[in-house]
């Protein structure tokens, strides 16, 4: 077990999460946006593991499992959808989807 206090790990997780959020907002490619979402999920995993350490039991680590499974399922379905839409429209730019405007 490391000597580094858990606060630093929490800080890292927070920074990663924020990078993920900013990435979702700034990039335009649908798949890249998806990957930033994965980054956010990873950051959450780190949070859980650190909390498990802080609490002294393994429940946080079990939750990481679930996050992982859900992430996997989500990636599968999401990528399938992106594939289909990309074939239809021949573009991955998220900004093209703007019919529901004022």
């Amino acid at each position: 077990m490391t000597e580094v206090p858990p606060g630093y790990f929490l800080a890292l997780a927070g920074l990663l999460f924020t990078v993920g959020v900013v990435g979702v907002l700034v990039r335009r490619n649908a798949i890249v946006i998806f990957m930033f979402i994965e980054l956010m999920l990873n950051a959450v995993n780190l949070f859980f593991v650190t909390f498990a350490r802080m609490q002294g039991n393994l429940e946080g680590q079990v939750l990481v499992f679930f996050v992982l499974v859900v992430a996997a399922a989500e990636v599968v379905v999401g990528l399938a959808l992106i594939l289909l839409i990309a074939r239809r429209r021949a573009s991955l730019d998220v900004d093209n989807v703007r019919l529901l405007k004022w």
Binding site: T2, M35, R53, N57, L58, L68, V69, L83
Partner: protein, 194 residues
Amino acid sequence: MSLDIVVFGAMFVVTLGAALAMLFAHNAVHVALLLVLSQVGLAVAFLLQGAFFVAAVQIIIYAGAIMVLFLFVIMLLGVDRREALDEPLRGQRPLALGLGALLTAQVLYVAWQGVDLAFADGGETAIQEINSDPGNVLGLARVLFGRYVLPFEITSVLLIVAVVGVMVLARRIYSVAPAGDAEAERSEVEEVAV
């Protein structure tokens, strides 16, 4: 300077650096590879905190399977697409950066403050004990199939649903043409329909 801190420092730089670099990469493949790097760094972080099994699973499933899937899709859709990094929407970048900074500040504040509350040392020794006595995997198993067996079963259903869903999404509709009609056979595989 103990090894501990050096490893942590290196891991910190690699993970965060890779994540930041993702923001500026043009090519989607580069983004994916940087994400893999970031995830490996996270696996190290898990190891550092006594989550051995989760670290392994992170590498195998996340970096090994999910990211590969990403790469497959990128390949399928044109690997050399360059994404323009300009920003056509007004105010999007300043807002995103500003709000992101705010959020960071809040999270860091909580992280720094929250650590002082109640938890501190006791947790680490407990985990070390679990890791040494039944071992990390067995300990996890006891929790997973003990208290969390219902969520476990539900997530398995979730996986099945996801698989079935994707199969439905990806099916192709074949039109039936009379045998011997070569032209019809060539145009057999119609467009993918959902």
